[in-house]
């Protein structure tokens, strides 16, 4: 009998050693974030059976701590929790639109103990915990000089990172999202400068000075110019009764909001969109405009056309000269060359006919003359 108990106890313990307690393979990391930014904490736990993962928010100091559990959709849907329980447990908590009140300690708790949710027992004993701090700070003030550049030929952009205790590891500038390689510096100064010696449409846009801090802080300076309007081709051709197409493109920042086409005729006259009897069609996007003229006529449509693009600072324009070819323009060279061919062929045949009688008189017999015409 005792032997039976011993054996069954041994078997039970063997079975129980299959189970393993929960352990963290990935713990959440502490972060510093700016207001309105978002943060993400990862937590990975292994164990058999698969552990359950919970997120808790810890406020206050020991021993007067308050614990609040976070669920998916908490804090007015600013909290999202993404958890998978395959082989091991993974849980990711997303916090969006951070406020100063979001600062605190976040705790990842895991347990695979079947008794873990028993209210009669103390949770601390059955759950393993891993903590991370999220500190939300106010966006430090970056003083930009100037705030905006409008219609200047040159400028000096500067950013001054004031009232911040953040560690500055360097800075750089970007234009429309692209890093300007020659502005990258490892200087820990809070003051950075970017020179624009000549402002044209190609270097206008949205400039950002970026400080390599944790978290990264940046400020925007807009450099605006008049629109640079260029025609695809300054001389366009069209065939009579065919359609003629003229295209203008706009460069610069900001892109033209308004496009107009004018025909030069002792002063300007404007074409309206789809107006003037189905003859004119204008299609415009911020960076391109197309004027299509149907049924070209030699008397009416030859001449200079102007495309005008306007943005908040002013207008830019370019001129296109339209030439209309007559339907018959190609006919004269065609007839000329055909005439030349006919003349040559006739000369060759006449030359041959005049020589042939001479050859026949030589008295040689012509064998199986297959290809005599």
């Amino acid at each position: 009998m005792k032997l039976l108990w011993a054996v069954s106890a041994l078997l039970l313990s063997c079975w129980r050693t299959d189970a393993s307690t929960a352990g963290f393979t990935k713990s959440p990391l502490s972060q510093m974030k700016l207001i309105d930014d978002s943060a993400e904490l990862h937590c990975e736990v292994i164990g058999n059976p698969i552990p359950e993962v919970q997120w808790w928010f810890v406020e206050g100091e020991e021993p007067n701590e308050t614990f609040t559990q976070l669920f998916d959709g908490a804090r007015n849907d600013r909290v999202q929790i993404n958890a998978t329980y395959i082989v091991h447990a993974t849980s990711i908590i997303h916090l969006t639109s951070l406020t100063l009140d979001d600062s605190g300690t976040y705790e990842c708790r895991a347990s695979n103990d079947p008794d873990r949710n028993e209210l009669k027992k103390t949770p601390k004993i059955k759950w393993i915990r891993s903590q991370a701090n999220i500190i939300v700070i106010e966006t430090p003030n970056i003083v930009t000089e100037p705030h905006e550049v409008s219609n200047q030929t040159s400028a000096v952009l500067s950013c001054n990172l004031t009232d911040s205790s953040l560690l500055i590891k360097g800075s750089y500038w970007t234009l429309n999202g692209n890093i300007l390689e020659d502005s990258v510096s490892a200087d820990d100064s809070p003051f950075t400068v970017h020179r624009l010696d000549k402002i044209t449409h190609s270097n206008s846009g949205t400039y950002e000075c970026v400080f390599k801090t944790e978290p990264q802080v940046k400020q925007t300076i807009e450099v605006k110019t008049l629109p640079h309007v260029v025609a695809y081709k300054h001389s366009e051709h069209g065939n009579e009764n065919d359609k003629g197409v003229m295209v203008c493109v706009g460069h610069g920042h900001p892109l033209p909001t308004d496009w107009g086409w004018f025909k030069e005729e002792d002063g300007n006259r404007k074409q309206i969109l789809n107006g003037t009897g189905d003859k004119y069609e204008i299609k415009s996007t911020p960076n391109k405009t197309t004027l299509t003229i149907n049924e070209l006529s030699i008397q009416d449509d030859i001449g200079d056309y102007t495309c005008l693009g306007t943005n908040e600072l002013g207008p830019g324009s370019d001129k296109i000269h339209l030439r209309v070819r007559s339907r018959l323009a190609a006919l004269w060279p065609f007839l000329g060359i055909v005439a030349e061919v006919i003349i040559l062929v006739t000369i060759i045949f006449i030359y041959e006919k005049r020589r042939k009688p001479d050859e026949v008189n030589d008295g040689h017999h012509l064998d199986s003359c297959l290809d005599c015409i």
Partner: protein, 481 residues
């Protein structure tokens, strides 16, 4: 010695005189046939925008034209066999002109496929075959030179047409240009008018017929004096005389039993897979290596210029008494040289390397093109050449059309041009070596047959002499008696 099949034309080709005018006519015809489809690509961008179709749809115009040109080969051969070269070229010229004029009024892309592609392509086929055939009827001794000169038409016309097309396009738009191109192509009719059918007279001067044969002059003389008996006894000439009667039939299918023809066909089919692709991809490869557009285009000009000068030079070399009898080896060398050139291309680095490659490639391409039809003429003889070239072009249609797209696919899969060049190099080197081996074997067999026929014919002439002597004795006896 190469087969005397060509001498059994039954007449002496002039080898000069009006023949040079015919070469000029062939120069124009061949030039337009090869250069015209390539030069039309300048208009494609504009037409693509006009009809709002994709790039591949517009590229089909060129492909349809090329396909029709090759597919029209046998029809062209049949017509040449029946009516001779001149009427076919005249009709061909008018066909291309009509096709282009109709295309200039085109309202849809299908319209262009039909007019430019089908009608134009067939018209060009009617230009190509007769031009090649008529050279064989006018030349024997100087034939490689004549062929080389005529094939020079292709690069020269391309060189002229490319800037001309650009000028026409700027001045008249694509419709006007098609109209004017239609009239320019009509100059093929002038070329056709020059192709006067050759006068077939039997000349009694045998020794002048074969100045370029090495070997015993006496043997040659006896072959020529006994032409009639040799006709009956020589195995090659048996097939040649059968070929002569086949000329009256539409097309000569018995060519498929001709050993030389089969060798040529087998090698060419493989070779054409890698023939045109390197030309097509020369400029894109240069741009891929970072070279600007104008320099890349200049590479093509260098290539065309070298090509232009090497073709007559090759013809001249092929005509010399050392090369002419073994011209098949020269051709095999040209094919293998092409292959080697392509295999070495990926080693070229930078612009200078590519210039060197373009020069060598131009040499190789020109040599090959100049000899391409000359060796076929050499193998099958001038009588059966027209049928032969018709059959060859329709069978080559496949590789010619599939070659560039396949190479393009290779480039797309690997993202690198060097595998395409390796593939093309292999496609040319293997047939080159194949040609060397097969022609060595072929020449041996032909020499054997030649010796056999000479031996048999010597025996017959001995018997006739004996017979004559007996007759003389009898008459002497009779006179005595």
């Amino acid at each position: 010695m190469p087969p005397p099949a060509a001498t059994n034309l039954g007449y002496t080709p002039p080898d000069g005189g009006w023949g040079w005018a015919v070469v000029f006519g062939a120069f124009i015809s061949i030039g337009f046939s090869y250069a015209f489809p390539k030069s039309l690509t300048i208009y494609f961008k504009e037409i693509q925008e006009y009809f709002s179709v994709s790039y591949s749809e517009i590229a089909w115009v060129s492909s349809v034209m090329l396909a029709s040109m090759y597919a029209g080969g046998p029809i062209s051969s049949m017509l040449v066999n029946r009516y001779g070269s001149r009427p076919v070229v005249l009709v061909g010229g008018i066909m291309v002109c009509t096709g282009m004029v109709l295309a200039s009024f085109g309202t849809s892309i299908i319209h262009l496929y039909l007019c430019v592609g089908v009608i134009g392509g067939f018209g060009l086929a009617f230009n190509l075959q007769p031009a090649l055939t008529i050279i064989g009827t006018y030349f024997q001794a100087k034939r490689p030179l004549a062929n080389g000169l005529a094939m020079t038409g292709s690069p020269v016309v391309l060189f002229t047409l490319a800037p001309l097309n650009q000028f026409l396009f700027d001045s008249f738009g694509w419709r006007g240009s098609f109209l004017i191109l239609g009239s320019i192509v009509m100059n093929c009719c002038v070329a056709g008018a020059l192709m006067r059918p050759v006068n077939k007279r039997v000349q009694p001067k045998p020794t002048n017929e074969s100045p370029n044969r090495n070997g015993g002059g006496e043997e040659a003389e006896s072959v020529n004096t006994g032409t009639q008996s040799a006709d009956l006894l020589n195995e090659e000439s048996q097939t040649a005389s059968k070929g002569q009667s086949n000329v009256h039939k539409l097309i000569d299918i018995s060519l498929f039993k001709h050993r030389g023809f089969l060798i040529y066909l087998a090698g060419n089919v493989i070779m054409f897979f890698g023939f045109f692709a390197p030309v097509v991809f020369l400029a894109p490869y240069a741009k891929h290596l970072g070279i600007d557009e104008y320099s890349a285009a200049f590479l093509l000009s260098i290539f065309a210029l070298v090509d232009m000068f090497i073709r007559p030079a090759t013809g001249f070399i092929g005509n010399t008494k050392w090369v002419r009898p073994r011209i098949q080896y020269f051709f095999s060398f040209a094919v293998s040289y092409n292959g080697v050139c392509h295999l070495l291309c990926p080693l070229a680095s930078g612009y200078l390397g590519l210039v060197v490659y373009a020069v060598f490639f131009g040499l190789a391409f020109g040599m090959l093109s100049a000899l391409l039809f000359e060796v076929l003429m050499d193998l099958v003889g001038a009588n059966r050449f027209s049928s032969a070239v018709g059959l060859v072009t329709i069978i080559e249609c496949g590789p010619v059309l599939l070659g560039p797209p396949l190479s393009g696919a290779l480039v797309d899969i690997f993202g690198d041009y060097k595998y395409m060049y390796y593939a093309c190099g292999v496609f040319m080197l293997v047939p080159g070596i194949f040609f060397f081996i097969m022609h060595y074997y072929n020449y041996k067999k032909l020499d054997e047959e030649q010796r056999q026929s000479v031996a048999v014919e010597m025996k017959t002439s001995e018997e006739t002499v004996e017979l004559k002597m007996n007759q003389d004795d009898k008459t002497v006896d009779a006179a005595d008696g």
